[in-house]
Symmetry: none
């Protein structure tokens, strides 16, 4: 994967291949296609994809079975695809060793973002930056303490974690799903609006007039931590 990643799409619905193919070409990803479970396994071996997109409902072998098979020998990242209503399988899929989970119908942005996130997570060993400091703001994930202008501000664990997550990705918008996945974990089923409530409280606690940083809402996308706007 020196340059662009190669993705293997496994789904019995040609429409999914067409639309994903379009997004991938746009990103200069290459891809190959499998239309049933057995076919999928064959392609995994022959194509050596960098990432596998696996629909749950497929003839011959279900995505779950395929996932289990793959995990016996390979650690290739897998993203499970499922129709709305099949959401029960989420926990199961992830316990089987899938790396992420997308519900149909999906948006282009979502799919591409998830793929990039998974590949990034796989490739880059995480840097240990548990302590972050900005003008008038310190976030310490070792002792779960947040200081504003040197003063300790009592924050709950979730608040510290979310703030740390956003502040360690300055300027980068993170959507609610990403935040939920990274803070709560992949097996969490909750209302994405929960994130909003936490953001609200974090803002209340840390914001002061003239702070050189802020939590910014990107309408329709998510939140980001910005410095000196």
């Amino acid at each position: 994967m020196a340059t662009a990643p190669h993705i293997l799409i496994c789904d019995d619905d040609p429409v999914v291949h067409e639309s994903l193919g379009l997004y991938f070409e746009n990103e200069h990803f290459t891809y190959s296609s499998a239309y049933d479970g057995r076919d999928a396994l064959a392609h995994v071996v022959s194509d050596k994809p960098d990432l596998i997109i696996l629909d749950v409902m497929m003839p011959e072998k279900t995505g779950i079975e395929v996932c289990r098979e793959i995990r016996k020998t390979l650690s290739t990242p897998i993203i499970i695809l499922t129709a709305k209503g099949e959401e029960i399988d989420r926990v199961l899929g992830l316990e089987l060793g899938a790396d992420d989970y997308i519900v149909k119908p999906f948006s282009p942005r979502e799919v591409i973002a998830r793929i990039k996130a998974v590949l990034r997570r796989i490739n880059e060993p995480q840097e240990n930056t548990s302590f972050l400091r900005f003008e008038g703001l310190e976030i310490n994930l070792d002792n779960y303490q947040v200081k504003v202008k040197g003063e300790l501000v009592p924050c709950t664990p979730k608040e510290v974690e979310i703030l740390h997550l956003l502040a360690s990705h300055i300027g980068q918008v993170m959507d609610r799903e990403q935040i939920l996945s990274l803070i709560w974990g992949y097996d969490y089923f909750g209302d994405t609006r929960t994130v909003d409530t936490h953001i609200k409280r974090i803002r209340q606690k840390i914001y002061y007039e003239g702070a050189p940083w802020s939590l910014i809402t990107v309408y329709g996308v998510g939140y980001k931590f910005e410095v000196n706007s």
Copy 2:
């Protein structure tokens, strides 16, 4: 820059010019010198350097101001130079559009390595497709921010996405269906004229007299992003 790059050194300290000059000659880079902010801007225009090294502390105009000025019209790579202890926020520098940041005192190896890295990054086919830069126009899909002449222009998410899509396929005409599929998703069924309205708003927001790029309508087909050659 067919062969060796030309570097513009902007610093009020002659010692810096001497030492950098020495390294550059060794690498067969050519270079020119500016000793204050105003001088720097003049040289940027007349010398058309391939890369600019910009000290923060300079008479007449600080490096920060010069950087901001340059970014209004040019996308020439900039490396910011700063003395240890000068609490210039790395983030701030990079937000202004600088490409890298070196703290004095620097080692020859470090400077050369950084310069080569930046030039490589700029020249090679973009790996980081989420950020696009043109003369007087920057599109950042991580931030969802668009800058025209260095100034932040408030755009809605759809506007940023469409602009980024077109700008990442320079010269290539995309029809309305393609744009809808890639931005809205495969399951969207709406009026294709919606695209027109978004294009209109993008043009209103980003266009300025003499911009070296534009959103062009291809009658009966679609839209494309063009750059003056």
